[in-house]
């Protein structure tokens, strides 16, 4: 049985976004990751990091 695919994560600070993306990409089923700006809270930019198992540019 495989691990569950990584969940999207909200409220990820800018300086840790790279590490979260890196951890999500350990799952080889993840083909594409969206990093979307949420808001700046207390001077820190926060992002939603969403992994996708399908590549939306090719459909595969």
């Amino acid at each position: 049985m495989a691990l569950q695919p990584p969940s999207p994560q909200t409220n990820v600070p800018r300086d840790d976004t790279g590490n979260v993306v890196d951890a999500m990409l350990l799952d080889t089923r993840v083909k594409w990751i969206a990093v979307v700006f949420e808001a700046t809270v207390g001077g820190v930019d926060r992002f939603t990091v969403t992994p996708y198992v399908d590549d939306p540019t090719t459909g595969g």
Binding site: P6, P8, T10, M24, D27, V30, Y52, D54, D55
Partner: protein, 432 residues
């Protein structure tokens, strides 16, 4: 006149046997695909064959892996609706159709009040159903390929024979189209309740490892829950011949029928009536016996009945074109929208994903979002340790053994402080 009607009868009746003999599995598959591609263009998942027995709340077990489903969908153009598990007792029509006449929950839930307006009513009444409209579809048809008509209506082979043409172009218009839906939020509640009551049944479909073409894959199963359906009652088909008449006439061969000769309006009207009478007899079970007997006496042989799905009527004809109106007794479902729920370990259901998104390759978030919890001391320790060769596999194996089998990214920065502590203690410190 009798000769002409006889000739019409021959061509109309001949198509029944001709189509049956020549129909191969490949041709039928093409019919399904071409029809489905047309419907898909309207962002609706096609139903094939057409049926009225699909409605919101129907739950289908999809046993095909996602990748395979996409392949089937692209190859065939539709997904076979098999393995109907249940019809959920959904509510929400009253809320969604607030103010809509005679639509509600319970006994007033659609489509029964439209299919059977009263207990003793024999005629459906969809006049109060929400309307839908589809664009006109174009198609080409050739008799040389064995009447492999690209739409599941019977007017096309009839028309092709009447035109006495080897090939034709045509248009199909879906008229009297309706749609109705139940809020996806309500089907979500209903399927969760149903899944809890049937968790033992669903558990047998939890994800399982398998090998395909030498590769290790995970077989996943889905529940497909219908949220909206589209129905059609009337189909208009127009055919335009690609060539003129009389190209191959010879002695002993029936000449092409002049369907509408303006110079002789009286004869044209009679021919119209005669053809429609033949079609009406062919379409009805009674006509297949009594009607055929009289028809056979005209042409001197026993013709095979024409198998038509609804009542077919000739609406217009010229020397190079014919138009038919095919009406189903009650509207049939031609397509649907649905949500897919992956079956997880233990028979639990994952977050719903629109079926169309999955099939069309649109981006699908993997699971529901979690809130980033920060990277604590254990997270930092895990991040450094898993980058050493071989440790990622050890961590994955350990997580798989923990039941939930969460991903590494969820472990590191999700709400799993206890699990991180155990990883550090059992895997990292334990290996030192």
């Amino acid at each position: 006149m009798v000769q002409q009607v006889g000739a019409v009868l021959v061509v109309v009746m001949a198509l029944g046997g001709c189509a049956t003999e020549k129909t191969s599995g490949e041709q039928l598959a093409r019919v399904a695909k071409d029809w489905s591609l047309s419907i898909r263009a309207s962002q609706v998942i096609p139903v094939y064959p057409l049926t009225e027995d699909v409605q919101p709340g129907d739950v289908f077990l999809v046993q095909t892996p996602v990748e395979e489903q996409v392949k089937i969908y692209l190859d065939k153009g539709f997904l076979p609706l098999e393995n109907l598990l249940t019809r959920l007792p959904v509510t929400g029509y009253a809320e969604l159709y607030r103010g809509w006449p005679k639509v509600g929950d319970g006994e007033a839930a659609p489509p029964r009040q439209w299919q059977f307006p009263s207990p003793d009513a024999t005629e459906p009444d969809f006049s109060r159903a929400p309307l839908a409209a589809f664009p006109t579809y174009n198609f080409s048809v050739s008799r040389s390929t064995g009447l492999s008509v690209a739409i599941p209506v019977q007017s096309v082979p009839v028309g092709l024979n009447l035109l006495d043409s080897a090939s034709a172009n045509g248009t199909i218009t879906l008229k009297d189209a309706y749609t109705y839906a139940v809020p996806a939020r309500r089907t979500y509640d209903a399927i969760l309740n149903w899944s809890r009551a049937n968790i033992d049944y669903l558990e047998q479909f939890e994800p399982a490892g398998a090998t395909q073409d030498g590769k290790s894959i995970t077989k996943e199963f889905y529940l497909r829950v219908i949220n909206r359906v589209y129905l059609v009652k009337t189909v208009d088909v127009s055919l335009f011949s690609n060539r003129g008449f009389g190209a191959a006439g010879s002695a002993g061969v029936p000449q092409p029928v002049q369907l509408l000769n303006i110079a002789n309006a009286s004869d044209a009207a009679k021919q119209f009536d005669a053809i429609n009478q033949i079609l009406a007899k062919a379409a009805s079970p009674a006509g297949a016996s009594a009607g055929d007997a009289s028809a056979a006496s005209i042409v001197g042989e026993a013709p095979a009945p024409v198998a038509v799905g609804g009542s077919v009527k000739l609406a217009m004809a010229t020397s190079r074109s014919v138009s038919f109106v095919e009406t189903f007794h009650r509207p049939l479902v031609i397509g649907y929208l649905a949500s897919d729920y992956a079956i997880l370990k233990g028979g639990r259901l994952a977050t719903p994903v629109p079926t169309l998104n999955m099939l069309e390759g649109r981006p699908i978030p993997t699971t529901r979002a979690i809130t980033y919890q920060g990277c604590d001391a254990n997270c930092l320790q895990i991040r450094g340790w898993r980058k050493v060769a071989g440790n990622q596999a050890k961590l994955e194996d350990w997580l798989k053994a923990q039941g939930e089998a969460i991903s590494i990214s969820d472990l590191e920065t999700g709400d799993h402080a206890d699990l991180r502590r155990r990883v550090v203690k059992e895997l990292i410190e334990g290996s030192n």
